[in-house]
């Protein structure tokens, strides 16, 4: 079905899908639909229920955290090939941050409950998908740690 093959191609084009076995990717494509997000559109809202998991095909999404009394900070941007909304797979299925499009963006979107059911039912699919998700999460954790070091900040005391 052309719709699926289109999605399959979109998935295969980026890091998340490229690493999956063809069969698994086709199986996923069948569950997904291609959605486009306009600049400024909010994809996920911090604290809200997350009912969808997505893989960015093109464009750019910003992960933002709001601190009352301060302007919202963008802590990370999600590039094509990366995934968003992994909270849809991990209880309590609430968004840990707000995700907003900073340019027109296309996302391969999965319905959260449906994807979870599929994963529960199919260990092979589960293994393939969850490894991918885990890798994405760990990469973000590493990145966050490095950002914590604030490496480019000026040193308190300088000899010159």
């Amino acid at each position: 079905m052309s719709r699926d093959t289109g999605i399959d191609a979109a998935l295969a084009s980026g890091w998340f899908g490229a690493g999956l076995p063809d069969a698994t990717r086709a199986r996923l494509a069948a569950l997904a639909e291609l959605t486009s997000v306009a600049t400024g559109a909010v994809v996920l809202r911090e604290g809200a229920e997350v009912d969808s998991f997505g893989v960015v095909v093109d464009g750019r999404l910003a992960i933002r955290l709001a601190v009352p009394g301060r302007t919202a900070m963008t802590v990370l941007t999600v590039e094509p090939g990366d995934c968003i909304g992994w909270s849809a797979l991990v209880p309590p299925h609430r968004a840990t941050s707000t995700v907003i499009a900073t340019e027109p963006t296309t996302v391969v979107t999965f319905d959260g409950p449906a994807l979870r059911t599929a994963i529960d039912a199919d260990p092979v699919l589960a293994a393939a998908v969850l490894w991918r998700v885990l890798e994405a999460v760990s990469r973000r954790l590493t990145a966050t740690r490095t950002q914590l070091l604030d490496l480019f900040a000026r040193a308190d005391q300088e000899p010159w």
Binding site: W15, R60, A62, I63, R64, T71, A72, M73, T74, V75, L76, T77, E79, G81, D82, T102, E103, R139, A143, T146, Q147, L149, D150, L151, F152, A153, R154, A155, D156, Q157, E158, P159, W160
Partner: protein
């Protein structure tokens, strides 16, 4: 004055009766020389000016052990029958304090003049074999290098050496283990062997021969020569079986994490005594002496030590924060990395560091504990061709002229500020005008020492070369950099350089190029980017990855914009954090390529940023197929002299200022990631 001589003495061996020593001294004084020799003062035999042989410590000896030194009374007439005291000739050839430069602020601008010594002719009396070896080592370090210490050169040339064979070594002596004594072999003008009735006199240089001939002394008779031989043999025997030092070099290099370091660090007081009594230690700091209104300042070269807190300090703290790190630095440098840097050990076995350590730490014991490990391979430093690529562009880049050798310590050039560009809240690019060919002949990645009167000079990377000058991009962090970024059009400052080894631009020819910059690390890479643009046709794909703290901290914003638009290279930018107005990428710099699909097997990488960032980056690039010998980084260290003479910026076997600051990861090896080296 002292010239390298063959072990064989020049001319006949002569005899000087004990009571005639003053004839020798008078002849030296007649030469207009100040005479420095051993005298008893404050419970020790030290070196000081002497008026006559009567000032020499006749009948006095010295016993030393770890942390202990006592004068003894022999009651005989011998004047040199004592082991070395706390002072060495270094005090005269490389004095504790020496003015090296004067800076003045005049109506015309700033002016720098070197204050080279005009030392009075000197004669050192009673120099031992270990001390001759030490002089030889300092000659090599300070005179044979890329740059020359003018003050040392002048003092050394004015020095006449009268050596004396060592008769009574003490328990801290181990010259036989270091192969430097006790026999006086070379490096002297005149050598004496002291016997009960007089001295056997050898000459070791034309000047020595001339002096001795003028005394017309009798030829020494054979019995005296035999007695002399017995004296030296006795000294050698007294030191017992030499230690086997063959393992020290490789063993120490292989043992940076040996538990022995922590153990000795608990005893070590970090008092600096071992380094300051050492006859070969040459580490110094430059002290600013400025007048009340800062218009005139003198830079004074002062003995420093790798044991002081401030020695390895750079932005954000010290590279060797713990006593463990500092003791390891001292022992490893002396017995191991000295070989890599200067082709010999840095120790001559005089034992001063053992005797004059207040807690009696004995390097011989520490070596036994720590250095028993097997050898490690030592990658060799790559020499980087000094010529820029043939296709050197007409516009901005390093000119094709080979850069001259690094200047001696004195050489500051006054340059004019043509204009300033404020890059960020605390960072300014100075556009400087100069006609100095050495400065204009610099290469990407090299740096200069930038100085204003009364402020300590700051090492600043060159951020652009122009036909008529160069750019420096400076972040106002300390007082000196604040003053530099406060300069205005028409004002002047002093530059010394270009210094160090720049980026190996020729490595790019026929290869893909990956350039990764973190924060102000973009500045030293900017000239390299200029070359990429100019030599576009000789280079493969160029990828430029930029990481910054926040959008407000981005450097050269319009230039980077032009690069993106120009499409001649793939430029990607990210910031660590940003407000909602920033629509670009956010995240650490490695995210720009850690999921990229390009193949790095024919790429060369150039990275500049905080060390932690460069480590993370190089790991990812290695994953992309860029090998360690094709990954080049530039290091920040406490660079103060800029020419490898002060010791501050040592990293393992390198002086970052002259061997670097650019290194390939293959060259650095473990030094790149190990803390405290």
């Amino acid at each position: 004055m002292t010239q390298p001589v063959s072990p064989v003495a020049q001319g006949p061996i002569r005899w000087l009766p004990l009571d005639d020593l003053d004839r020798l001294l008078d002849a030296l004084r007649a030469d207009g020389r100040t005479i420095v020799g051993p005298v008893v003062s404050d419970d020790a035999i030290v070196l000081d000016e002497i008026a006559s042989a009567g000032d020499l410590p006749a009948g006095r000896g010295a016993e030393a052990g770890p942390g202990r030194y006592r004068l003894t009374d022999r009651g005989d007439a011998k004047r040199f029958d004592h082991a070395v005291g706390p002072m060495s000739p270094k005090r005269w050839t490389f004095p504790p304090r020496a003015p090296i430069r004067v800076a003045r602020r005049t109506g015309a601008g700033v002016r720098f003049a070197s204050a080279d010594a005009r030392p009075a002719p000197l004669a050192l009396i009673g120099v031992r074999a270990c001390e001759l070896a030490a002089l030889g080592i300092q000659d090599h370090v300070l005179l044979d290098g890329q740059a020359i210490d003018g003050d040392y050169r002048a003092r050394r040339a004015a020095t006449f050496v009268v050596a004396v064979e060592c008769a009574t070594p003490t328990s801290t002596c181990f010259c036989t283990s270091m192969g430097t004594g006790p026999e006086v072999r070379s490096g002297f003008d005149v050598a004496l062997t002291e016997l009960d009735e007089g001295y056997v006199v050898r000459t070791g240089s034309p000047a020595g021969s001339a002096l001795i001939d003028s005394l017309d002394l009798p030829v020494a008779d054979p019995s005296a020569l035999d007695a002399a031989a017995v004296v030296v043999a006795g000294a050698r025997a007294a030191m017992g079986t030499p230690l086997d030092m063959t393992n020290a070099h490789a063993g120490l290099a292989a043992a940076p994490e040996h538990p022995g370091w922590a153990a000795v660090a608990e005893r070590c007081l970090g008092c600096t005594n071992c380094t300051l009594v050492c006859p070969t230690c040459f580490c110094t700091s430059v002290v600013q002496k400025s007048d009340l209104d800062g218009t005139t300042s003198t830079e004074e070269r002062t003995w420093d030590s790798c044991f002081t807190d401030g020695f390895a300090k750079v932005a954000g703290g010290s590279f060797r924060p713990h006593g463990t790190d500092r003791y390891r630095q001292w022992l490893t440098h002396k017995f191991s990395s000295w070989w890599d840097q200067f082709g010999s050990s840095g120790c001559v076995g005089c034992g001063r560091c053992i005797a004059w350590c207040p807690v009696g730490i004995d390097v011989r014991e520490e070596l036994a504990v720590i250095a028993g490990v097997g050898p490690v391979p030592m990658p060799q430093l790559r020499t980087i061709a000094l010529a820029a690529p043939a296709s050197a562009p007409a516009t901005a880049s390093a000119p094709a002229t080979a850069s001259a050798p690094a200047p001696a310590l004195g050489g500051y050039v006054t340059v004019h500020v043509d204009g300033m560009t404020r890059e960020t809240a605390d960072t300014v690019t100075l556009h400087l005008r100069t006609t100095d060919r050495r400065l204009l002949g610099g290469r990407p990645g090299q740096f200069v020492m930038a100085a204003l009167p009364a402020f300590s000079a700051a090492p600043i990377s060159i951020s652009r070369f122009r036909r008529d000058g160069l750019d420096l991009t400076i972040r106002a962090a300390g007082p000196a950099t604040r003053a530099l970024t406060g300069l205005e059009r028409g004002e002047t400052l002093g530059l010394r350089g270009p210094l160090g080894r720049g980026w190996p631009v020729e490595e790019m020819t026929g290869r893909d190029v990956v350039i990764v910059a973190g924060g102000i690390g973009l500045a030293p890479l900017r000239p390299l980017i200029d070359i990429c643009l100019a030599a576009r046709d000789t280079i493969g794909t160029v990828r430029l990855y930029l990481g910054t703290r926040t959008p407000a901290d981005r450097l050269f914003v319009s230039e980077v914009g032009a690069l993106v638009a120009g499409g001649q290279m793939d430029v990607r930018e990210t910031v660590d954090r940003a407000g909602p107005d920033w629509l670009g990428r956010v995240g650490i710099v490695t995210q720009l390529f850690d999921r990229a699909t390009w193949d790095g097997r024919n790429a060369v990488a150039f990275i500049c940023g905080p060390e932690r960032m460069m480590q993370a980056t190089s790991e990812v690039l290695f994953g992309r197929g860029i090998d360690l010998d094709r990954t080049w980084v530039t290091l920040e260290r406490n660079m103060s002299c800029g020419v490898g003479l002060c010791g501050h910026c040592q990293l393992g076997r390198f002086f970052v200022c002259k061997d670097g600051p650019v290194f390939s990861l293959a060259e650095l090896g473990p030094a790149f990631t190990m803390e405290g080296l």
